[in-house]
């Protein structure tokens, strides 16, 4: 049975307790850990040793892609495929092209922000082993949870039980 255990989980009442416990678990050398809270906690990132996500760079890349595709689109349309003079302006009249290009920049960046976040988070994930703990339903209401996953190289289950009890 033990090889199928996903991890070991502890429940806390307040964010302070969770953060302190997370620090102790991290100091004990565990890396495959996670915490669950009903709202974002900034302190937990440091406590669990969560590295800053690469998401902002992806979003920037999304914005640049939007900018370049916008410029490419107006260039293709007005210089290459359908050159037509409107209002005496040059074919590539950049100032007049700023609004659509700008909107496309924002659109691409926003799409990357949302779908990049979901992708990096591995969502949608309708099933996850943590949902098997009945009390985990409180994680979206008022309680705070900390888990050490069984795949952590340091895990030998009896010990984790003790570490979390002492945490």
């Amino acid at each position: 049975m033990e090889q199928n255990i996903y991890g070991i989980m502890a429940e806390f009442d307040t964010p302070t307790e969770l953060v302190d416990a997370a620090r102790q678990v991290r100091d004990a050398g565990y890396t495959k850990t996670d915490a669950f809270s009903p709202f974002p906690l900034h302190e937990i990132d440091e406590a669990l040793g969560i590295k800053r996500s690469i998401l902002p760079y992806l979003i920037f890349a999304g914005g640049v892609t939007g900018l370049l595709s916008g410029l490419g689109l107006v260039y293709f349309v007005h210089v290459f495929d359908y050159p037509i003079i409107v209002g005496g302006r040059p074919h590539f009249s950049l100032p007049a092209f700023i609004p659509p290009v700008y909107e496309l920049t924002i659109l691409f960046a926003a799409l990357v922000a949302v779908f990049g976040m979901l992708f990096l988070n591995g969502l949608p994930a309708p099933y996850h082993p943590v949902f098997n703990v009945p009390r985990f339903a409180f994680a979206t209401r008022e309680k705070f949870f900390l888990i050490i996953e069984a795949k952590d190289p340091k895990v030998r289950l009896r010990r984790e039980h003790e570490v979390l009890w002492k945490a």
Partner: protein
Amino acid sequence: MQDEKDLQEKLRPAMIEGDHSFASVTDKISDVTLKKRTPFHWFIGFAIAFMVAQLLLFSVIWLLANGIGVWGNNQPVGWAFDIINFVWWIGIGHAGTLISAILLLLNQKWRTSINRFAEAMTLFAVACAAMFPLLHTGRPWLAAYWLFPYPNTMGIWPNFRSPLIWDVFAVSTYATVSALFWYVGLIPDLATLRDRAKNKYFKFIYAALSWGWRGSARHWHRYEITYLILAGLSTPLVLSVHSIVSFDFSVSQVPGWHATIFPPYFVAGAVFAGFAMVLILCIPLRHMYRMQDFITHTHLVYMAKVMLATGLIVVYGYAMEGFFGWYSASQYEVFMVKNRIWEGPYWWSYWLLIFCNGLSIQLLWFKRFRESEFWLFLISIIVSVGMWLERFVIIVTSLHRDFLPSSWAMYSPRVWDWTMFIGTIGFFFTLIYLFVRFVPIISIFEVRTLLPDANVHGHHQDFEENVNEVEYTYDRTDPPNE
């Protein structure tokens, strides 16, 4: 510890009143959706809104069957109700983005309990707005090739130098980003509803919509990045949208439209109208669902102050329009100002506008009116009417007498103009009613962060007492009871 809490409460005006915990906040807000019987007034309100929305359906069918000749606009007033209503609706939407994005960046905590329905308001208002220019094309399905750049069989492309195409890009981007922002904000709350729902079907739907959110620290970490960056992206976006809407006018050469004041003046007007609509929605809402603990008097007063500030910017815009007309030394501009304000047949609409947007808001300088829900509600309605009149004045009085006296004409709306406008109001409120019934009207997870308990304190305790329970969690292949 107790002193610290007291001090915090003193320093910060009450954003949440009453004695609340994480659980009570969660229950109070989610019970509206999940547990409480749908109140009787909901059915009454929904029924009325839904019936009025049928007017829209009927008007649109009539319009598509007969063409836009059923509307009152004709040369020289080629833009009338369609564009007035478009600008009015999209302006209303702007307050939602201001509350959700700009106030987030400015770290204004009071946005937390009003951002959810303000954003919903944005989405629904943009949906109403988008209908007007689309239907003004008469045959929207045929207009697609000059609205959107796609390779078509005629081998032609839209003109990207035209403000109308800028508008298409701005409004469609705005609608998409607002929807994303709203939905991202909803994910953790939908997970809460999933975990609390008893009804099997509701549970399934909320589970599907929350994408399996489980509140993991790593997820929250990326979530917060996304939320903040979306706010950072929405802020310039929302400013650009109404600036671009104003370009529809100011890039043209029509006297009364061709003014550099337009972009900032339109953006301020949009926020002004939007806050009026937020107040119109939230004053009844907080009573109907007893949300006074979360939407407090402080919130209403803050909104009143934003309304006053943006209203004054708008009044400055009116003054500048007059000044520009005079200072231009162009006889057409001077004539337009005179014609608009006292010589023309639509002088009454201008003075009604000054009364609604300029005079009525002066009451908000006084605490007595700012703190009275009755007056706030009344002033908000007057302001909504006023902002509609503003667009009427800008569009109709500028167009009906332009350069050539032989082409002057009067404009008056016909019945189908009115039914379509009133129909969109019904459509808007139908969507608001559905939203109130099926989605948490206040952002639960953000309200939790406002509670004093949400702060992490630095001190150490004896943690052995803190652990409630330690449990093994199993993967599905091996149920725990075997």
